[in-house]
Protein backbone atom coordinates (compact mmCIF):
# COMPACT_ATOMS: atom_id res chain seq x y z
CA UNK A 1 0.00 0.00 0.00
CA UNK A 2 1.22 3.50 -0.82
CA UNK A 3 1.02 6.00 2.00
CA UNK A 4 0.78 9.70 2.59
CA UNK A 5 3.91 10.55 4.55
CA UNK A 6 4.88 13.41 6.84
CA UNK A 7 8.24 15.00 6.11
CA UNK A 8 9.59 16.79 9.17
CA UNK A 9 11.60 19.89 8.28
CA UNK A 10 15.03 19.74 9.92
CA UNK A 11 16.83 22.54 8.12
CA UNK A 12 16.09 25.18 5.51
CA UNK A 13 18.98 27.02 3.88
CA UNK A 14 19.37 29.47 1.00
CA UNK A 15 22.15 28.04 -1.19
CA UNK A 16 22.06 30.50 -4.08
CA UNK A 17 19.89 33.22 -5.59
CA UNK A 18 16.23 32.23 -4.93
CA UNK A 19 17.49 28.69 -4.37
CA UNK A 20 16.61 26.89 -1.14
CA UNK A 21 17.71 23.53 0.24
CA UNK A 22 15.48 21.66 2.66
CA UNK A 23 16.54 18.66 4.72
CA UNK A 24 13.57 16.64 5.92
CA UNK A 25 13.22 13.56 8.07
CA UNK A 26 11.28 10.51 6.93
CA UNK A 27 12.74 7.01 7.20
CA UNK A 28 10.41 5.43 4.67
CA UNK A 29 11.04 7.90 1.82
CA UNK A 30 14.74 8.08 2.68
CA UNK A 31 15.02 4.31 2.30
CA UNK A 32 12.82 3.92 -0.77
CA UNK A 33 14.03 6.86 -2.85
CA UNK A 34 15.98 6.29 -6.06
CA UNK A 35 17.77 9.00 -8.03
CA UNK A 36 15.30 10.74 -10.38
CA UNK A 37 12.22 10.16 -8.26
CA UNK A 38 10.26 13.03 -6.73
CA UNK A 39 8.01 13.82 -3.77
CA UNK A 40 4.63 15.50 -4.26
CA UNK A 41 4.14 18.08 -1.51
CA UNK A 42 0.83 19.40 -0.16
CA UNK A 43 0.74 23.09 0.83
CA UNK A 44 -1.92 24.71 3.00
CA UNK A 45 -4.68 26.44 1.00
CA UNK A 46 -3.39 25.17 -2.34
CA UNK A 47 -5.53 22.86 -4.45
CA UNK A 48 -2.58 21.14 -6.10
CA UNK A 49 0.54 19.55 -4.68
CA UNK A 50 4.03 20.63 -5.78
CA UNK A 51 6.41 18.05 -7.26
CA UNK A 52 10.05 18.35 -6.16
CA UNK A 53 12.88 15.95 -7.06
CA UNK A 54 14.87 14.22 -4.38
CA UNK A 55 18.37 15.75 -4.34
CA UNK A 56 19.95 13.41 -1.82
CA UNK A 57 19.11 10.95 0.93
CA UNK A 58 20.89 9.95 4.12
CA UNK A 59 19.48 6.56 5.07
CA UNK A 60 21.34 6.39 8.38
CA UNK A 61 19.93 9.76 9.44
CA UNK A 62 16.65 8.92 7.69
CA UNK A 63 16.64 12.22 5.84
CA UNK A 64 15.71 13.46 2.39
CA UNK A 65 17.20 16.60 0.81
CA UNK A 66 15.20 18.80 -1.57
CA UNK A 67 16.54 21.74 -3.49
CA UNK A 68 14.23 24.14 -5.27
CA UNK A 69 14.00 27.54 -6.82
CA UNK A 70 11.45 30.11 -5.67
CA UNK A 71 9.35 30.75 -8.77
CA UNK A 72 5.85 31.32 -7.37
CA UNK A 73 3.46 31.16 -4.46
CA UNK A 74 4.03 27.54 -3.54
CA UNK A 75 7.80 27.54 -3.56
CA UNK A 76 7.77 30.86 -1.70
CA UNK A 77 5.61 29.24 0.96
CA UNK A 78 7.87 26.17 1.06
CA UNK A 79 10.91 28.39 1.53
CA UNK A 80 9.23 30.19 4.44
CA UNK A 81 8.28 27.11 6.49
CA UNK A 82 9.90 27.08 9.94
CA UNK A 83 12.08 24.17 11.01
CA UNK A 84 9.90 21.53 12.69
CA UNK A 85 7.02 21.90 10.23
CA UNK A 86 5.56 18.60 9.05
CA UNK A 87 4.99 18.60 5.28
CA UNK A 88 2.41 16.20 3.85
CA UNK A 89 4.11 14.33 1.01
CA UNK A 90 3.40 11.59 -1.51
CA UNK A 91 6.38 9.62 -2.67
CA UNK A 92 8.85 8.61 -3.72
CA UNK A 93 6.93 8.97 -7.03
CA UNK A 94 7.83 7.99 -10.57
CA UNK A 95 10.72 6.01 -12.02
CA UNK A 96 14.30 7.10 -11.51
CA UNK A 97 17.36 6.99 -13.79
CA UNK A 98 18.04 3.43 -14.99
CA UNK A 99 21.55 2.48 -13.86
CA UNK A 100 21.34 -1.30 -13.40
CA UNK A 101 22.97 -2.00 -16.80
CA UNK A 102 26.10 -0.04 -15.94
CA UNK A 103 29.27 -1.97 -15.05
CA UNK A 104 31.95 -1.01 -12.54
CA UNK A 105 34.54 1.12 -14.30
CA UNK A 106 32.06 2.59 -16.74
CA UNK A 107 32.11 6.33 -17.10
CA UNK A 108 28.90 8.36 -17.62
CA UNK A 109 28.06 11.98 -18.46
CA UNK A 110 25.68 14.09 -16.36
CA UNK A 111 24.22 17.24 -17.92
CA UNK A 112 22.23 19.47 -15.59
CA UNK A 113 20.62 22.88 -15.90
CA UNK A 114 19.43 25.07 -13.04
CA UNK A 115 17.06 23.21 -10.73
CA UNK A 116 17.59 20.17 -12.92
CA UNK A 117 20.93 19.77 -11.15
CA UNK A 118 19.71 18.42 -7.76
CA UNK A 119 18.42 15.02 -8.96
CA UNK A 120 21.72 14.52 -10.81
CA UNK A 121 23.58 15.00 -7.54
CA UNK A 122 21.59 12.15 -6.00
CA UNK A 123 22.41 10.10 -9.12
CA UNK A 124 26.12 10.97 -9.04
CA UNK A 125 26.55 9.85 -5.46
CA UNK A 126 24.67 6.61 -6.17
CA UNK A 127 26.85 5.90 -9.22
CA UNK A 128 30.01 6.68 -7.27
CA UNK A 129 28.99 4.06 -4.68
CA UNK A 130 28.78 1.52 -7.54
CA UNK A 131 32.26 2.38 -8.77
CA UNK A 132 31.03 4.20 -11.84
CA UNK A 133 32.86 7.41 -12.69
CA UNK A 134 30.91 10.53 -13.55
CA UNK A 135 31.73 13.62 -15.60
CA UNK A 136 29.36 16.51 -14.95
CA UNK A 137 28.47 19.58 -16.98
CA UNK A 138 26.24 21.93 -15.01
CA UNK A 139 24.59 25.00 -16.50
CA UNK A 140 23.32 28.03 -14.60
CA UNK A 141 22.05 31.46 -15.64
CA UNK A 142 24.67 33.39 -13.70
CA UNK A 143 27.28 33.13 -10.97
CA UNK A 144 24.73 33.99 -8.28
CA UNK A 145 22.64 30.94 -9.26
CA UNK A 146 25.45 28.36 -9.02
CA UNK A 147 25.17 25.69 -6.30
CA UNK A 148 26.55 22.20 -5.48
CA UNK A 149 29.79 22.81 -7.45
CA UNK A 150 32.12 21.56 -4.73
CA UNK A 151 29.88 18.58 -4.01
CA UNK A 152 29.99 17.54 -7.66
CA UNK A 153 33.74 18.09 -7.91
CA UNK A 154 34.19 15.57 -5.12
CA UNK A 155 32.32 12.97 -7.19
CA UNK A 156 34.13 13.56 -10.46
CA UNK A 157 35.30 16.01 -13.10
CA UNK A 158 32.80 18.88 -13.16
CA UNK A 159 32.48 21.83 -15.50
CA UNK A 160 30.26 24.84 -14.74
CA UNK A 161 28.65 26.86 -17.54
CA UNK A 162 26.85 30.17 -17.08
CA UNK A 163 24.74 31.80 -19.78
CA UNK A 164 26.21 35.22 -19.03
CA UNK A 165 29.76 33.95 -18.48
CA UNK A 166 29.87 35.42 -14.99
CA UNK A 167 31.35 32.09 -13.82
CA UNK A 168 32.96 29.08 -15.49
CA UNK A 169 32.48 28.67 -19.24
CA UNK A 170 30.25 31.21 -20.99
CA UNK A 171 27.31 29.88 -23.01
CA UNK A 172 25.19 26.72 -22.85
CA UNK A 173 25.97 23.22 -21.65
CA UNK A 174 25.78 22.06 -25.26
CA UNK A 175 28.78 24.29 -26.05
CA UNK A 176 30.84 22.25 -23.61
CA UNK A 177 29.72 18.64 -24.01
CA UNK A 178 31.28 16.60 -26.86
CA UNK A 179 29.49 14.24 -29.29
CA UNK A 180 32.15 11.62 -28.67
CA UNK A 181 33.91 11.06 -25.40
CA UNK A 182 34.71 8.11 -23.17
CA UNK A 183 31.29 8.02 -21.48
CA UNK A 184 28.97 5.09 -22.22
CA UNK A 185 25.75 7.06 -21.75
CA UNK A 186 24.40 10.31 -20.40
CA UNK A 187 21.75 11.50 -17.95
CA UNK A 188 20.24 14.96 -18.21
CA UNK A 189 17.77 17.09 -16.28
CA UNK A 190 16.89 20.74 -16.81
CA UNK A 191 14.67 23.12 -18.76
CA UNK A 192 12.99 21.68 -21.86
CA UNK A 193 15.03 23.72 -24.41
CA UNK A 194 18.22 22.42 -22.81
CA UNK A 195 17.01 18.81 -22.89
CA UNK A 196 16.09 19.19 -26.56
CA UNK A 197 19.51 20.63 -27.40
CA UNK A 198 21.27 17.88 -25.46
CA UNK A 199 19.13 15.17 -27.07
CA UNK A 200 20.00 16.59 -30.50
CA UNK A 201 23.72 16.99 -29.85
CA UNK A 202 24.12 13.54 -28.27
CA UNK A 203 21.75 11.68 -30.60
CA UNK A 204 24.32 8.94 -31.22
CA UNK A 205 24.79 8.32 -27.52
CA UNK A 206 22.35 6.45 -25.29
CA UNK A 207 20.85 8.84 -22.81
CA UNK A 208 18.10 9.48 -20.32
CA UNK A 209 16.18 12.72 -19.81
CA UNK A 210 14.14 13.85 -16.81
CA UNK A 211 11.10 16.02 -17.57
CA UNK A 212 8.84 18.49 -15.80
CA UNK A 213 5.17 19.16 -16.46
CA UNK A 214 2.30 20.69 -14.54
CA UNK A 215 0.73 17.97 -12.48
CA UNK A 216 -2.58 17.16 -10.87
CA UNK A 217 -2.54 13.89 -8.95
CA UNK A 218 1.17 13.10 -9.34
CA UNK A 219 0.42 9.37 -9.29
CA UNK A 220 -0.89 8.60 -12.77
CA UNK A 221 -4.64 9.05 -12.33
CA UNK A 222 -5.49 12.37 -14.01
CA UNK A 223 -3.50 12.43 -17.27
CA UNK A 224 -2.36 16.03 -16.71
CA UNK A 225 1.36 15.42 -17.13
CA UNK A 226 1.74 13.61 -20.42
CA UNK A 227 4.58 13.67 -22.95
CA UNK A 228 4.47 12.40 -26.54
CA UNK A 229 6.51 9.26 -27.22
CA UNK A 230 7.41 7.34 -30.35
CA UNK A 231 5.45 4.18 -29.50
CA UNK A 232 1.97 4.15 -30.98
CA UNK A 233 0.52 4.20 -27.47
CA UNK A 234 2.09 7.65 -27.82
CA UNK A 235 1.46 9.81 -24.71
CA UNK A 236 3.12 8.67 -21.51
CA UNK A 237 2.66 10.09 -18.00
CA UNK A 238 5.62 11.97 -16.58
CA UNK A 239 4.55 11.38 -12.97
CA UNK A 240 4.16 7.62 -13.37
CA UNK A 241 6.07 6.39 -16.45
CA UNK A 242 8.69 9.11 -15.94
CA UNK A 243 9.90 11.65 -15.00
CA UNK A 244 12.91 9.91 -16.61
CA UNK A 245 12.60 8.66 -20.19
CA UNK A 246 15.10 7.26 -22.69
CA UNK A 247 16.16 10.11 -24.98
CA UNK A 248 15.37 7.85 -27.93
CA UNK A 249 11.78 7.29 -26.83
CA UNK A 250 10.37 10.81 -26.45
CA UNK A 251 9.47 13.48 -28.98
CA UNK A 252 10.55 17.01 -28.01
Amino acid sequence: MKKKEKLKLISSEKLAKDTVELVLRNDYISRQAEPGQFVHLALAHHTLRRPISIAETDQTAGTVTLLFKIVGEGTRLLASLPVGTEIDALGPNGNGFPISKLKTGDSVLLVGGGVGVPPLYFLASALKKQGISVQSVLGFQEKAAVFYEAAFQELGETQIVTNDGSYGHQGFVTDVIKENDSTVCYYSCGPLPMLAAVQKKLKHKQGYLSFEERMGCGIGACYACVIPTKEETSYKKICQDGPVFAASEVIL
Binding site: T47, L48, E213, Y223, A224
Partner: protein, 304 residues
Protein backbone atom coordinates in the same frame (compact mmCIF):
# COMPACT_ATOMS: atom_id res chain seq x y z
CA UNK B 1 -25.97 2.76 14.12
CA UNK B 2 -26.04 5.20 11.17
CA UNK B 3 -27.28 3.77 7.87
CA UNK B 4 -25.07 5.00 5.00
CA UNK B 5 -26.60 2.77 2.34
CA UNK B 6 -28.12 4.24 -0.80
CA UNK B 7 -30.12 2.54 -3.54
CA UNK B 8 -30.29 4.20 -6.93
CA UNK B 9 -31.16 2.77 -10.35
CA UNK B 10 -28.54 0.06 -10.99
CA UNK B 11 -26.55 1.12 -7.94
CA UNK B 12 -26.99 -0.52 -4.59
CA UNK B 13 -24.28 1.18 -2.55
CA UNK B 14 -22.99 0.68 0.99
CA UNK B 15 -22.34 4.40 1.22
CA UNK B 16 -23.07 7.48 -0.93
CA UNK B 17 -19.46 8.39 -1.80
CA UNK B 18 -17.73 7.67 -5.12
CA UNK B 19 -14.79 9.16 -7.02
CA UNK B 20 -15.79 11.46 -9.89
CA UNK B 21 -15.03 10.67 -13.50
CA UNK B 22 -11.59 11.64 -14.78
CA UNK B 23 -10.14 12.14 -11.32
CA UNK B 24 -9.64 8.46 -10.58
CA UNK B 25 -8.59 7.02 -13.94
CA UNK B 26 -9.70 3.38 -13.73
CA UNK B 27 -8.84 2.93 -10.08
CA UNK B 28 -5.46 1.19 -10.32
CA UNK B 29 -3.45 4.07 -8.85
CA UNK B 30 -5.78 4.68 -5.90
CA UNK B 31 -6.02 0.95 -5.23
CA UNK B 32 -2.39 1.26 -4.11
CA UNK B 33 -3.52 3.69 -1.37
CA UNK B 34 -6.58 1.88 -0.02
CA UNK B 35 -8.95 -1.01 -0.59
CA UNK B 36 -11.46 0.18 -3.20
CA UNK B 37 -14.12 -1.98 -1.51
CA UNK B 38 -14.56 0.95 0.87
CA UNK B 39 -16.15 3.03 -1.90
CA UNK B 40 -19.89 3.34 -2.52
CA UNK B 41 -19.26 3.11 -6.26
CA UNK B 42 -16.64 4.05 -8.87
CA UNK B 43 -17.08 6.28 -11.90
CA UNK B 44 -14.52 5.49 -14.58
CA UNK B 45 -12.70 7.97 -16.76
CA UNK B 46 -14.49 8.96 -19.97
CA UNK B 47 -14.67 6.34 -22.72
CA UNK B 48 -14.87 7.32 -26.41
CA UNK B 49 -15.40 5.22 -29.54
CA UNK B 50 -11.71 5.04 -30.38
CA UNK B 51 -8.50 5.90 -28.56
CA UNK B 52 -8.01 9.63 -27.95
CA UNK B 53 -4.73 11.40 -27.33
CA UNK B 54 -6.31 14.36 -25.64
CA UNK B 55 -4.95 17.92 -25.59
CA UNK B 56 -1.39 19.22 -25.59
CA UNK B 57 0.09 20.27 -22.22
CA UNK B 58 -0.14 22.19 -19.93
CA UNK B 59 -3.46 20.55 -19.16
CA UNK B 60 -4.02 21.85 -15.62
CA UNK B 61 -3.63 25.10 -13.72
CA UNK B 62 -4.24 26.03 -10.11
CA UNK B 63 -6.78 28.72 -9.23
CA UNK B 64 -8.10 30.17 -5.96
CA UNK B 65 -9.66 27.21 -4.11
CA UNK B 66 -9.89 25.34 -7.40
CA UNK B 67 -8.20 24.24 -10.59
CA UNK B 68 -8.66 24.32 -14.34
CA UNK B 69 -8.27 21.22 -16.49
CA UNK B 70 -8.34 20.47 -20.19
CA UNK B 71 -7.27 16.84 -20.46
CA UNK B 72 -9.24 16.35 -23.65
CA UNK B 73 -10.77 12.96 -22.94
CA UNK B 74 -7.51 11.05 -23.37
CA UNK B 75 -8.49 7.37 -23.13
CA UNK B 76 -7.60 4.06 -24.82
CA UNK B 77 -11.07 3.70 -26.38
CA UNK B 78 -14.11 1.83 -25.10
CA UNK B 79 -13.08 -1.63 -26.43
CA UNK B 80 -9.78 -1.54 -24.57
CA UNK B 81 -11.47 -0.19 -21.43
CA UNK B 82 -13.95 -3.07 -21.42
CA UNK B 83 -11.16 -5.58 -22.02
CA UNK B 84 -8.49 -4.35 -19.62
CA UNK B 85 -9.89 -1.81 -17.16
CA UNK B 86 -13.36 -3.05 -16.21
CA UNK B 87 -12.01 -6.49 -15.22
CA UNK B 88 -9.58 -4.84 -12.82
CA UNK B 89 -12.33 -2.86 -11.09
CA UNK B 90 -14.63 -5.91 -11.20
CA UNK B 91 -12.41 -7.54 -8.55
CA UNK B 92 -13.98 -5.17 -6.05
CA UNK B 93 -17.52 -5.44 -4.66
CA UNK B 94 -18.31 -1.93 -5.89
CA UNK B 95 -20.76 -0.88 -8.63
CA UNK B 96 -18.93 0.41 -11.71
CA UNK B 97 -20.28 3.43 -13.59
CA UNK B 98 -18.92 3.99 -17.11
CA UNK B 99 -18.55 7.60 -18.24
CA UNK B 100 -19.57 7.85 -21.92
CA UNK B 101 -18.32 10.62 -24.22
CA UNK B 102 -18.37 11.37 -27.93
CA UNK B 103 -18.32 14.04 -30.59
CA UNK B 104 -21.35 12.75 -32.48
CA UNK B 105 -24.52 10.98 -31.36
CA UNK B 106 -23.30 7.99 -33.35
CA UNK B 107 -20.13 7.85 -31.26
CA UNK B 108 -22.16 7.89 -28.03
CA UNK B 109 -24.25 5.06 -29.49
CA UNK B 110 -21.14 3.08 -30.39
CA UNK B 111 -19.69 3.43 -26.90
CA UNK B 112 -22.98 2.40 -25.29
CA UNK B 113 -23.21 -0.62 -27.61
CA UNK B 114 -19.72 -1.83 -26.73
CA UNK B 115 -20.38 -1.33 -23.00
CA UNK B 116 -23.45 -3.58 -23.31
CA UNK B 117 -21.02 -6.48 -23.83
CA UNK B 118 -19.54 -6.01 -20.37
CA UNK B 119 -20.98 -8.12 -17.57
CA UNK B 120 -19.55 -5.90 -14.87
CA UNK B 121 -20.98 -2.46 -15.46
CA UNK B 122 -23.78 -1.20 -13.20
CA UNK B 123 -24.72 2.05 -14.94
CA UNK B 124 -23.47 4.59 -17.43
CA UNK B 125 -22.92 8.31 -17.00
CA UNK B 126 -23.48 10.32 -20.19
CA UNK B 127 -20.90 13.06 -20.36
CA UNK B 128 -22.75 15.55 -22.55
CA UNK B 129 -20.25 18.37 -21.93
CA UNK B 130 -18.65 17.54 -25.26
CA UNK B 131 -18.74 19.59 -28.46
CA UNK B 132 -20.99 18.15 -31.17
CA UNK B 133 -18.82 18.31 -34.30
CA UNK B 134 -21.85 17.93 -36.54
CA UNK B 135 -23.51 20.94 -34.91
CA UNK B 136 -20.55 23.30 -35.23
CA UNK B 137 -19.13 22.26 -31.89
CA UNK B 138 -22.02 23.37 -29.73
CA UNK B 139 -21.89 21.32 -26.55
CA UNK B 140 -24.61 18.68 -26.30
CA UNK B 141 -24.87 19.74 -22.66
CA UNK B 142 -25.76 23.36 -23.32
CA UNK B 143 -28.61 22.74 -25.74
CA UNK B 144 -31.80 21.10 -24.40
CA UNK B 145 -32.88 19.49 -27.67
CA UNK B 146 -29.42 18.08 -28.39
CA UNK B 147 -29.14 16.80 -24.82
CA UNK B 148 -32.59 15.25 -25.14
CA UNK B 149 -31.72 13.57 -28.42
CA UNK B 150 -28.43 12.03 -27.34
CA UNK B 151 -30.06 10.80 -24.11
CA UNK B 152 -33.00 9.27 -25.99
CA UNK B 153 -30.74 7.51 -28.51
CA UNK B 154 -28.35 6.10 -25.89
CA UNK B 155 -31.22 5.09 -23.63
CA UNK B 156 -32.71 3.15 -26.56
CA UNK B 157 -29.49 1.14 -26.94
CA UNK B 158 -28.05 0.72 -23.45
CA UNK B 159 -29.01 -2.20 -21.22
CA UNK B 160 -27.85 -0.15 -18.20
CA UNK B 161 -29.49 2.68 -16.27
CA UNK B 162 -28.41 5.97 -17.84
CA UNK B 163 -27.31 8.90 -15.67
CA UNK B 164 -26.85 12.15 -17.56
CA UNK B 165 -24.13 14.49 -16.37
CA UNK B 166 -25.28 18.10 -16.53
CA UNK B 167 -23.05 21.00 -17.51
CA UNK B 168 -23.32 24.09 -15.26
CA UNK B 169 -22.46 26.38 -18.18
CA UNK B 170 -26.12 27.06 -18.96
CA UNK B 171 -28.65 29.80 -18.38
CA UNK B 172 -31.32 27.42 -17.16
CA UNK B 173 -30.18 24.19 -15.51
CA UNK B 174 -33.77 23.11 -14.71
CA UNK B 175 -34.69 23.22 -18.40
CA UNK B 176 -31.76 20.90 -19.14
CA UNK B 177 -32.77 18.50 -16.37
CA UNK B 178 -36.37 18.36 -17.58
CA UNK B 179 -35.21 17.72 -21.15
CA UNK B 180 -33.17 14.67 -20.24
CA UNK B 181 -35.88 13.45 -17.85
CA UNK B 182 -38.36 13.50 -20.74
CA UNK B 183 -35.81 11.62 -22.82
CA UNK B 184 -35.95 8.77 -20.31
CA UNK B 185 -32.80 9.29 -18.26
CA UNK B 186 -32.68 7.22 -15.06
CA UNK B 187 -30.70 9.72 -13.05
CA UNK B 188 -28.64 12.90 -13.05
CA UNK B 189 -25.05 13.56 -12.07
CA UNK B 190 -24.10 17.20 -11.55
CA UNK B 191 -22.15 19.38 -11.87
CA UNK B 192 -19.46 19.10 -14.51
CA UNK B 193 -16.84 21.86 -14.63
CA UNK B 194 -17.41 25.56 -15.37
CA UNK B 195 -15.51 26.90 -18.36
CA UNK B 196 -12.71 29.16 -17.21
CA UNK B 197 -9.31 30.51 -18.18
CA UNK B 198 -6.07 31.57 -16.56
CA UNK B 199 -3.52 33.75 -18.30
CA UNK B 200 0.20 33.29 -17.66
CA UNK B 201 1.62 36.77 -17.07
CA UNK B 202 5.07 35.61 -18.16
CA UNK B 203 4.02 34.32 -21.59
CA UNK B 204 0.97 36.63 -21.78
CA UNK B 205 -0.98 33.68 -23.18
CA UNK B 206 -3.61 31.36 -21.69
CA UNK B 207 -1.75 29.03 -19.35
CA UNK B 208 -3.64 25.92 -20.50
CA UNK B 209 -2.63 24.78 -24.00
CA UNK B 210 -6.31 24.35 -24.87
CA UNK B 211 -6.77 28.00 -23.77
CA UNK B 212 -9.96 27.33 -21.76
CA UNK B 213 -10.27 24.67 -19.09
CA UNK B 214 -12.91 23.34 -16.73
CA UNK B 215 -13.05 24.92 -13.28
CA UNK B 216 -13.52 22.51 -10.37
CA UNK B 217 -12.85 22.32 -6.65
CA UNK B 218 -14.16 24.13 -3.57
CA UNK B 219 -14.53 27.37 -5.52
CA UNK B 220 -17.51 25.98 -7.47
CA UNK B 221 -19.36 24.37 -4.56
CA UNK B 222 -21.90 27.20 -4.06
CA UNK B 223 -22.88 26.91 -7.74
CA UNK B 224 -23.25 23.13 -7.49
CA UNK B 225 -25.37 23.41 -4.34
CA UNK B 226 -27.65 26.03 -5.94
CA UNK B 227 -28.16 23.97 -9.11
CA UNK B 228 -28.82 20.73 -7.20
CA UNK B 229 -31.28 22.56 -4.94
CA UNK B 230 -33.16 23.82 -8.00
CA UNK B 231 -33.04 20.63 -10.08
CA UNK B 232 -33.95 18.24 -7.26
CA UNK B 233 -37.21 20.14 -6.73
CA UNK B 234 -38.04 20.31 -10.44
CA UNK B 235 -37.52 16.70 -11.54
CA UNK B 236 -38.10 13.32 -9.92
CA UNK B 237 -34.78 11.75 -10.96
CA UNK B 238 -32.19 10.76 -8.39
CA UNK B 239 -29.09 13.00 -8.29
CA UNK B 240 -25.44 12.19 -7.72
CA UNK B 241 -24.02 15.54 -6.62
CA UNK B 242 -20.47 16.81 -7.00
CA UNK B 243 -18.47 20.01 -7.12
CA UNK B 244 -15.85 20.89 -4.53
CA UNK B 245 -16.52 18.19 -1.96
CA UNK B 246 -13.60 17.76 0.47
CA UNK B 247 -15.19 16.77 3.79
CA UNK B 248 -18.09 14.81 5.30
CA UNK B 249 -19.70 18.17 6.17
CA UNK B 250 -19.62 19.04 2.47
CA UNK B 251 -21.31 15.72 1.70
CA UNK B 252 -24.10 16.55 4.16
CA UNK B 253 -24.58 19.96 2.51
CA UNK B 254 -25.06 18.21 -0.86
CA UNK B 255 -27.52 15.75 0.66
CA UNK B 256 -29.54 18.56 2.26
CA UNK B 257 -29.58 20.37 -1.10
CA UNK B 258 -31.19 17.32 -2.69
CA UNK B 259 -28.41 14.97 -3.82
CA UNK B 260 -29.00 11.24 -3.16
CA UNK B 261 -25.31 10.40 -3.40
CA UNK B 262 -22.08 12.30 -4.11
CA UNK B 263 -18.87 12.12 -6.11
CA UNK B 264 -15.47 13.55 -5.24
CA UNK B 265 -13.10 14.69 -7.97
CA UNK B 266 -10.44 17.35 -7.52
CA UNK B 267 -9.96 16.63 -3.81
CA UNK B 268 -8.42 13.24 -4.68
CA UNK B 269 -5.35 15.02 -6.04
CA UNK B 270 -4.46 16.77 -2.83
CA UNK B 271 -5.52 13.85 -0.68
CA UNK B 272 -5.54 10.40 -2.34
CA UNK B 273 -7.31 9.11 0.77
CA UNK B 274 -10.12 11.67 0.71
CA UNK B 275 -12.84 9.18 -0.31
CA UNK B 276 -12.25 6.63 2.47
CA UNK B 277 -11.64 9.42 5.00
CA UNK B 278 -14.92 11.16 4.12
CA UNK B 279 -16.76 7.82 4.28
CA UNK B 280 -15.26 7.18 7.72
CA UNK B 281 -16.26 10.63 9.01
CA UNK B 282 -19.78 10.64 7.59
CA UNK B 283 -21.61 8.67 10.31
CA UNK B 284 -20.36 11.00 13.05
CA UNK B 285 -21.31 14.09 11.05
CA UNK B 286 -24.79 12.75 10.26
CA UNK B 287 -25.29 11.92 13.93
CA UNK B 288 -24.06 15.35 15.04
CA UNK B 289 -26.76 17.00 12.92
CA UNK B 290 -29.49 14.63 14.04
CA UNK B 291 -29.70 12.14 11.19
CA UNK B 292 -29.68 8.37 11.56
CA UNK B 293 -29.27 7.66 7.85
CA UNK B 294 -28.11 9.22 4.61
CA UNK B 295 -31.59 8.87 3.08
CA UNK B 296 -33.07 10.93 5.92
CA UNK B 297 -30.94 13.95 5.07
CA UNK B 298 -31.70 14.08 1.35
CA UNK B 299 -33.50 17.28 0.36
CA UNK B 300 -33.99 18.48 3.93
CA UNK B 301 -33.11 22.05 2.87
CA UNK B 302 -36.12 22.24 0.59
CA UNK B 303 -38.69 24.75 1.73
CA UNK B 304 -41.58 22.90 3.40
Amino acid sequence: MIDLSVDLPGLSMKNPVMPASGCFSFGREYSEFYNLNKLGAVIMKAATGNERQGNPTPRVAETASGMLNAIGLQNPGVEKIVETEVPFLAQYAVPIIANVAGSTIEEYEKVATVLNKSANIAAIELNISCPNVKEGGIQFGTNPSMAKEVTRRVKAISRFPVYVKLSPNVTNIVEMAKAIEEAGADGITMINTLTGMKIDLATKQPLIANKTGGLSGAAVQPIAIRMIYEVSQAVSLPIIGMGGIETAEDVLEFLLAGADAVAIGTANFNNPLVCPEVIADLPEVLKQYGFSSVKEAVGKAHSV
